[in-house]
């Protein structure tokens, strides 16, 4: 009963706080849309300039190969090398293609031709991807002209590549699960720790601790509304992901719910731990961001692959619940797998949740000093 009373009090407080209500409902959607549309790791339409000195049928054919692929967008045909340099310096293009005057002749004589490709390496990631696209386009083109004579046959070795789970390599397919993890951390850790520390800071906890209410009744009542909100947000974001971003859901929704609850226990554990060691709201929020949000973005494999992190940092990621949850979400969404495969993640999530919750309960006392 006391638990219900605390819960009702918190629910009323949330319901009457318009700003909080907006954060709780619109922020997750906003985050999803910003990340889903804005932060795409797909690179399409790489801006490119061409200086065609050959000006021949063959050179135009090569240029068409680039233009026809959706990966390149030719923004300018120039008539000087210096113009290419200028465009690269101003970051107007990422790739500059210079075709020498003898290009057509060399190709026809079958002795092989050369073109110059200038790549803007200031953004290493994009440059790398652009180079890859270029290599593919160029190989396609040369293949047409340098077919071995039919009389000679080579034994053929071919690599037949197939990309599983995300055949189009759409980045929204793995970003959206990441956002779900971030939103849950945000709701679970930051909102709950703020809600509890706010009562300490404003002194509204004093008359409550003087009553016979038990610690667990107070804490549980206080966080239940945020659990409900978090689950509501998960449903909201999963629905939006499915309908707006066409993210496939191949696994079971029930298992998704099970893992979401497990992850939520982690988020709440972090939130409660933060609230037990902070004395004011600002401090709690900074600490909650440092302990929950940042690791969930940076150390979970959401942005940087864990396998490419230094050993020490890799060890730290074992304490980042989002790491396991991301694997779970990608597994359920894209691979259609479940607990039978993901049980190690489930165990790690359980262990982490117990660790955080017990850290929090050690520190949580029903006294003021």
């Amino acid at each position: 009963m006391r638990y219900l009373a605390v819960m009702k009090r918190e629910a009323i407080t949330i319901a009457r706080d318009i700003r909080l209500l907006l954060i709780v409902v619109f922020f997750p959607l906003l985050l999803l849309i910003i990340y889903g549309y804005g932060v795409t790791f797909d690179i399409k339409g790489v801006p490119m300039a061409v200086y065609d000195q050959s000006n021949s049928l063959i050179s135009r054919e090569l240029i068409d190969c680039y233009d026809a692929s959706e990966y390149f967008k030719i923004t300018e045909f120039t008539h000087s090398r210096t113009r290419i340099d200028e465009l690269l310096i101003n970051d107007d293009i990422i790739i500059g293609l210079v075709i020498p005057p003898d290009f057509a002749r060399d190709i026809k004589s079958l002795k092989g031709g050369a073109v110059q490709v200038l790549v803007n390496g200031s953004d290493a990631n994009t440059a790398n991807v652009a180079l890859g696209y270029h290599a593919a386009v160029f190989a396609d083109f040369t293949g047409k002209y340098f077919k071995p004579p039919e009389s000679i046959t080579f034994p053929e070795v071919q690599a037949n590549t197939r990309i599983w789970f995300n055949p189009d390599l759409k980045s929204s397919n793995f970003i959206v699960p990441g956002i779900i993890a971030i939103i849950m951390m945000l709701m679970g850790a930051i909102l709950t720790s703020t809600a509890i520390v706010k009562e300490k800071e404003s002194g509204t906890i004093e008359q409550i601790v003087a009553s016979p209410v038990k610690s667990w009744e107070y804490i549980a009542g206080k966080i239940t509304p945020y659990i409900i909100i978090s689950l509501f947000d998960v449903i909201l974001v999963v629905t939006a992901a499915y309908f707006i971003f066409d993210v496939p859901i191949r696994g079971s929704l029930l298992q998704l719910g099970f893992f979401a609850l497990l992850f939520l226990a982690n988020a709440l554990g972090v939130g409660l731990f933060v609230s037990s060691i902070s004395k004011n709201v600002v401090g709690a929020q900074i600490m909650a961001v440092l302990l929950s949000l940042l690791p969930s973005i940076l150390l979970s494999g959401f942005v940087f692959p864990i396998s490419s992190m230094p050993r020490v940092i890799q060890a730290v990621t074992y304490l980042v619940p989002a790491r396991y949850f991301l694997e779970v979400l990608r597994g359920i969404f894209l691979k259609g797998i479940g607990v039978s495969v993901l049980w190690p993640q489930a165990l790690f999530l359980c262990a982490n949740a117990m660790l955080f919750l017990s850290l929090a309960s050690v520190k949580f006392k029903k006294t003021l000093d």
Partner: protein, 303 residues
């Protein structure tokens, strides 16, 4: 009903309570009076079970609250110095919330809520959010929340600080009503005039008890003769007296001076001294000591 022995509490290097002994065993209004930093809040918080003492014994209604701070909570009602109710909730919602925390049965809770609203005159404001009440109304609401479970002992930490004079009088009327219903009330206050309304008074200074008793007891402990002097140039007269007797025998009360003297002879000597300095004395009469005079004297003895 409340028994305290050797109660000690330290915050860092600051010994806030240095061995308090206190027994209150009848239904009275018991005032704990003293300046800021005397230890009033710490004492009440420890009694409310929300702070742990370093040392000492406390027994409330037969419960050892040092061993188990939760044991007496359902029999005590506590009002914190700082307004500590949820400002978003309405008056009625706040009272109802505490009713549930103290497990008051639903049927009794409604009846009790009605009576508390009537008795605190908060009835017309029952749907107003607590944050939008005036200072006096907030205190009355907090009091209602502390009373919903009909406690045997009420612990009030400076309930009238920052409250206007009319609301203050109303609050005291409420306290007298509660006393008549058989509630023991421990109230802390920095105001001596307010403590005079209580049945028994404890003077607290830097964590030590200076004096204890009802107003008459305390007055009888006043060994000096107290004179009240009105003088055209009070400031100068004050300096002359301090020059003669030291600074612990004379206190300003508004434009008046209170002199705690050993004998009539001393008064007459002082009078001539002031007259010789060319100051005009408008009046100089012996008066009966108030709590503040007693406090000053006890402070002097404590030295």
């Amino acid at each position: 009903m409340i028994e305290i022995k050797g109660l000690k509490k330290k915050f860092g290097d600051n010994q806030t309570l240095c061995g308090i002994d206190l027994t209150v065993d009848s239904d009275i209004i018991f005032a704990i009076v003293g300046p800021d930093g005397a230890g009033k809040t710490t004492l009440l918080r420890i009694l409310a079970g929300i702070m742990r003492p370093d040392d000492g014994l406390i027994n409330i209604l037969g419960h050892d609250i040092v061993k188990n701070p939760e044991s007496a909570k359902r029999y005590t009602g506590y009002l914190s110095q700082r307004f500590s109710l949820n400002p978003t909730l309405t008056v009625a919602e706040n009272i109802d919330f505490f009713g549930t925390l103290y497990e008051v049965p639903k049927s009794r809770k409604e009846d009790r809520l009605k009576r508390l609203l009537e008795f605190s005159r908060l009835g017309p404001f029952k749907d107003r959010q607590a944050g939008k009440l005036s200072g006096g109304m907030k205190q009355k609401l907090a009091l209602c929340c502390a009373l919903i479970h009909t406690p045997r002992i009420l612990l009030l930490d400076e309930p009238t600080t920052g409250v206007d004079p009319i609301s203050r009088r109303e609050l005291w009327e409420i306290l007298y009503d509660l006393l008549a219903q058989g509630v023991m009330i421990l109230v802390s206050t920095p105001y001596m005039d307010e403590a005079e309304r209580a049945g028994e008074i404890m003077m607290l200074h830097r964590g030590k008890t200076l004096a204890r008793g009802n107003l008459e007891d305390l007055k009888s402990k006043f060994h000096h003769k107290l004179y009240e002097m009105v003088c055209d140039d009070g400031r100068k007269a004050f300096e002359i007296i301090v020059g003669q007797l030291g600074d612990d025998r004379v206190v300003f009360f508004g434009d008046r001076l209170h002199l705690a003297l050993d004998s009539e002879q001393q008064m007459l000597t002082l009078k001539t001294f002031i007259a010789d300095a060319g100051l005009k004395i408008n009046s100089l009469d012996q008066i009966s000591p108030g709590l503040e005079d007693i406090f000053m004297q006890e402070l002097l003895y404590a030295k």
